[in-house]
């Protein structure tokens, strides 16, 4: 989920003009090469007494590879490749692999990110209510799933950016009040990112 968010941010890290509109943002959404972006994550969960903070990097390689490498407070790698979701926690030596199902929360967000990355506005409109606003202080795009049979999938994603600036913030809101916020800073792009992505995938896919 967070991976997806960060990917979205990555995609949004392209410059937005002062006359940002949904169409113009979507048109500029598709990255031309592999990209990475660093993040600061803050989670506010009902079952945690304090907010939780983490940091790391997001990586994206079109059409369907998205990775999140958390570096603090402890190392953790999550990834999506096609319809597969991978997770690896080196500290616990925990490794999972599962398939994304259409109905679950993560799939809803993956679909959203794929739609955004591919600039497929028609697809997004069939599954999400899109709300794009601009103010003097910046632009904002909110995606709300239209159909859900699970309160957990009633996630609202909000992306924000400064005028004529890259997207610098992504918020994820759940129906039960839990909230995750990412602050984003563009990092690298190109062959170096591709190599890094390959290394991380090798770790995730290894038995």
């Amino acid at each position: 989920m967070r991976i997806l968010i960060s990917l979205l941010l990555t995609l949004l890290s392209c410059n937005a003009s002062a006359k940002d509109s949904l169409d113009s943002v979507m048109a500029r959404m598709k990255p031309t090469q592999a990209i990475s972006i660093t993040y600061q994550e803050t989670r506010t969960l009902g079952l945690l007494s304090d907010t939780w903070k983490g940091s790391g990097s997001f990586y994206a390689v079109l059409p369907d590879i998205m990775l999140k490498e958390q570096l603090t407070p402890e190392k953790e790698i999550m990834g999506i490749k096609g319809a597969q979701l991978y997770y690896y926690h080196p500290g616990n030596d925990q490794k999972h692999q599962s398939e994304l199902e259409d109905e679950d929360a993560v799939s809803f967000q993956v679909a959203a990110f794929k739609g955004l990355m591919n600039g497929d506005l028609a697809f997004l409109k069939t599954r999400y209510a899109l709300e794009f606003t601009t103010t003097a202080s910046g632009w904002s795009l909110t995606l709300t799933p239209k159909q859900t049979n699970d309160s957990e999938t009633a996630t609202k994603m909000i992306m924000r950016g400064l005028p004529e600036q890259v997207a610098n913030k992504l918020e994820l809101l759940l129906a039960d009040g839990d909230r995750t916020e990412y602050r984003l800073t563009p990092a690298l792009q190109g062959a170096a990112v591709k190599t890094k992505v390959q290394q991380l995938l090798t770790v995730l896919e290894a038995r």
């Binding site: 989920m1 989670r43 969960l45 009902g46 079952l47 945690l48 007494s49 304090d50 939780w52 999550m78 096609g82 319809a83 597969q84 979701l85 997770y87 926690h89 616990n92 999972h96 692999q97 599962s98 398939e99 994304l100 199902e101 259409d102 109905e103 679950d104 929360a105 993560v106 957990e152 039960d176 839990d178 896919e205 038995r207």
Partner: protein
């Protein structure tokens, strides 16, 4: 209309009614296991019946792969699943490695019962958890889980069950499924369950055709994705349909081909198609009545019983043929008398054949009880029809029988060189007897159907793509009711855990974590209530604070202990289908099947040896054990049957020597055949025993006819034996051209046995030429 014409018309009328009745009312079965499997105890019998018609039999495994060796798209699989569910008669379709239902069940069904189902060893598990260190570790784990990809489900569980007790048992389940998903496989397996039994071949064939049609349509439409999909299927319905189609094709072929062969033979021998017609009518009457009686007594008739019983036609045709040859040798008005004179010999032949088949019915193969009833009815009806109906059917037929000179030449040759021929035969018999110790039996029943090997290979391939359960091997727990069975299964889990620790077992899949016995659930809840003390709760709250977790939401322990989860609740839930291949509930007996992964059978057997009504079960071993036990019993019964036949012959002839002499062609042909088999190194199966029994039954008839020589004309008698031998060899020879190897085996045994038995009659049975009219007739002919 003459008296004979009236009888003919009446006979044809009754025959038509019999055929219509047999075709319209008989219930046929084709499942090979139904023919062979019975089981020695109630558990095995119930299991055998379940394998044949229960839930297990109703499932087809569909394995969808791609030529490009890439994982099928989930969109394609989802669409295919929806379409397959819409096929009439299909009750459900699901992915074999489905975990979503498990997660849903955890949320909807199991959360309120965490206190009841958290462990099979509550004392040890609670002691490990309920101490300061254990609670601190659990709090750390909880936080990690809340921040992991599984946070969605963990949040729901933790809100009601902060200690995550409900997840305890499911860890191993998820790990097992995870193990199969570590790499992305180039296929997806679906389970399709139908409302019809796997043995309901017409319905299953229809469903299979629908599956193929839907798959072809959707894979064609999906080819735009760049993947070319392939479908493989396995399961009881697939094997049943393939077996039945093969048997049906063979039966159609045999019925057509053998009819043509017999018609040609009859025309060559009797120069009369009407003889062929009437004898065929007699045979149809014999088979129809046999089918009807067997169906009446057993409720159905098995295809194999029908096929083996059908070869009985070879025996039944002997009586009318024997009568015909003798009757055709005299004028029309003397035919009834000629047939009456044969009656004692035919009756004796019928009784000896009956003894052989009755012996076979005690061999243990359930199907052979049907064969015995089929044969007994057939022999009785054939005898009565030959005696009372045949004379009327052939009254108008002219004397057209063409005598075969070969028979007289062979009789004379045997008479002239009898001592030398006897010596050769006895030497051959001696060598055969010596080589009998080299005979070896077919130990694996599956080898009986090599023509289905392609399905077996496919089956192994598909199953290897699924969980590494050994499908034919499991632990079987039996008890009078569900609760007792669950309690016993819990004892078994403990033993299997020990074997796992010792390395004798990879893993096992019982009914836990889905359900525990009511006794264990009550014990779990009581123990948990006792152990969750206020000081421990304070320790837990401290651990939560240390880890930044909410004491307000997670600090209170509220585990209701007043109600247990019942098996019925589980079976009615969406995960019911995950369990119903593991439990069989009948009014007075419940069976639980515990599936095993890779294991050492001896280790499992040793661990469970002292638990009553618990057995390590290997389907293949059971079949092979049954096969060995049937074979041993069949050999004994064959010997007993032979002794009984000898006794009957002794009573008839009042001379042991004469009785032995009569039996000798049958006995020696079987012995020599066995010797050839032993020297060839080919394994012997129960089918060979059936073949030998038929050889003995038919050749004993030859011996009796030859010995009795009712009208004192050995040439005529031997010619009648020659005719019946020829028609039998012709009929059995047709079996050589079918696909079913079991029928080919039978054909080879019987064909050579009959030829040998026929040739041995003049050698083994000394003929009194002084009282024979053959010579006199021959001389008369020469003079004229």
């Amino acid at each position: 209309m003459t008296h004979s014409s009236k009888i003919k018309s009446l006979f044809l009328l009754i025959l038509s009614a019999l055929v219509i009745l047999a075709v319209t009312t008989t219930h046929f079965k084709t499942d090979i296991s139904a023919f062979f499997i019975a089981g020695d105890n109630s558990e095995e019998i119930l299991l055998a019946s379940e394998i044949q018609s229960g839930t297990l039999s109703r499932r087809t495994i569909l394995s969808i792969g791609s030529v490009e060796k890439k994982h099928p798209s989930q969109g394609f699989i989802k669409q295919l699943t929806q379409s397959l569910k819409a096929i009439p008669g299909v009750t459900d379709v699901w992915k074999a490695d489905e975990t979503r239902d498990m997660v849903k069940a955890l949320e909807t069904l199991y959360l309120p019962y965490a206190a009841q189902l958290y462990s099979r060893s509550p004392e040890a598990d609670l002691n490990a958890l309920l101490n300061p260190q254990g609670l601190a570790d659990r709090a750390v784990g909880l936080k990690q889980a809340l921040l992991s990809p599984q946070a969605v489900i963990v949040k729901k569980v933790a809100a009601q069950d902060p200690l995550l007790l409900a997840l305890n048992g499911f860890k191993s389940q998820f790990a097992a499924f995870q193990a199969t998903q570590k790499t992305l496989q180039p296929y997806e397996n679906l389970i399709l369950e139908s409302a019809h039994s796997g043995m309901d071949v017409p319905e299953q064939t229809r469903i299979q055709q629908e599956i193929q049609r839907i798959f072809a349509e959707q894979s064609k439409a999906a080819s735009a994705d760049g993947l070319r999909y392939q479908l493989d299927m396995t399961g009881v319905p697939i094997f049943a349909a393939a077996t039945q189609n093969m048997i049906q094709a063979d039966v159609q072929f045999i019925s057509t081909f053998s009819t043509v062969v017999l018609a040609v033979l009859f025309f060559w021998i009797f120069r009369s198609l009407s003889v062929f017609f009437w004898v065929s009518c007699l045979l149809v009457a014999v088979l129809s009545i046999s089918v009807l009686v067997t169906d009446l007594l057993f409720g159905s008739i098995h295809g194999i019983a029908m096929a083996i019983g059908g070869t009985l036609a070879g025996i039944c045709v002997d009586y009318p043929l024997h009568a015909l040859v003798h009757a055709q040798a005299v004028e029309s008005e003397h035919r009834a008398k000629a047939i009456i004179s044969l009656w004692p010999g035919m009756l004796l032949g019928g009784v000896t054949t009956l003894i052989g088949y009755l012996a076979l019915s005690f061999s243990g193969y359930p199907g052979f009880q049907q064969v015995a009833v089929f044969a007994a009815t057939g022999i009785l009806v054939a005898l009565l029809l030959t005696r009372y109906v045949l004379p009327h059917l052939i009254t108008g037929i002219t004397k057209t029988y063409d005598q075969q000179h070969f028979t007289l030449i062979w009789i004379k040759f045997c008479t002239r060189f009898r001592p030398a021929l006897l010596t050769i035969v006895l030497i051959l018999a001696g060598i055969s007897a010596y080589t009998l110790s080299e005979l070896h039996w077919l130990q694996d029943l599956q080898q009986l159907t090599p023509e289905l090997d392609y399905l077996k290979v496919k089956d192994a391939e598909i199953r290897s793509r699924m969980l590494s359960i050994e499908p034919g091997r499991f632990v079987l727990v039996s008890a009078p009711d569900v609760e007792a069975a669950l309690q016993k299964a819990e004892q078994v889990y403990q033993r299997l855990d020990q074997v796992k620790t010792q390395g004798g077992l990879g893993d096992y899949f019982g009914l836990y974590p889905w359900i525990l016995s009511q006794q264990q659930q009550t014990q779990n809840a009581q123990l948990l209530t006792q152990k969750l003390t206020p000081p421990l709760q304070q320790q837990w709250q401290k651990a939560l604070r240390v880890n930044g977790l909410s004491v307000e939401h997670l600090g209170q322990w509220q585990y209701p202990a007043n109600q247990n989860l019942s098996l019925q609740q589980v079976l009615k839930s969406p995960i019911g289908h995950l369990l119903d291949n593991q439990i069989i509930i009948k009014p007075k007996q419940t069976l639980i099947i515990i599936w095993l992964t890779e294991h050492q059978p001896e280790a499992i057997q040793a661990a469970l040896a002292d638990l009553p009504h618990v057995q390590y079960f290997s389907q293949r071993d059971l079949l092979n054990k049954l096969s060995v036990s049937y074979q041993e019993r069949s050999q004994l019964l064959l010997l007993l049957g032979l002794s009984a036949i000898l006794l009957v012959l002794f009573i008839r002839y009042r001379s042991l020597w004469k009785a032995l002499e009569t039996l000798a062609p049958a006995l020696l042909s079987m012995l020599i055949l066995l010797g050839i088999w032993a020297l060839s190194g080919m394994p012997l199966s129960f089918l060979h025993l059936v073949g030998f029994l038929m050889v003995i039954a038919i050749c004993t008839d030859y011996g009796i006819f030859y010995q009795e020589n009712p009208d004192g004309n050995i040439r005529l008698t031997y010619q009648s034996i020659f005719v019946s031998m020829l028609t039998n060899v012709g009929a059995f020879g047709c079996l050589n051209f079918v696909n079913t190897s079991t029928l080919k085996t039978l054909a080879v045994c019987v064909m050579y046995g009959l030829i040998l038995g026929f040739l041995l009659c003049p050698i083994m049975i000394k003929h009194d030429w002084e009282q024979d009219r053959s010579l006199e007739n021959t001389l008369k002919k020469r003079k004229s």
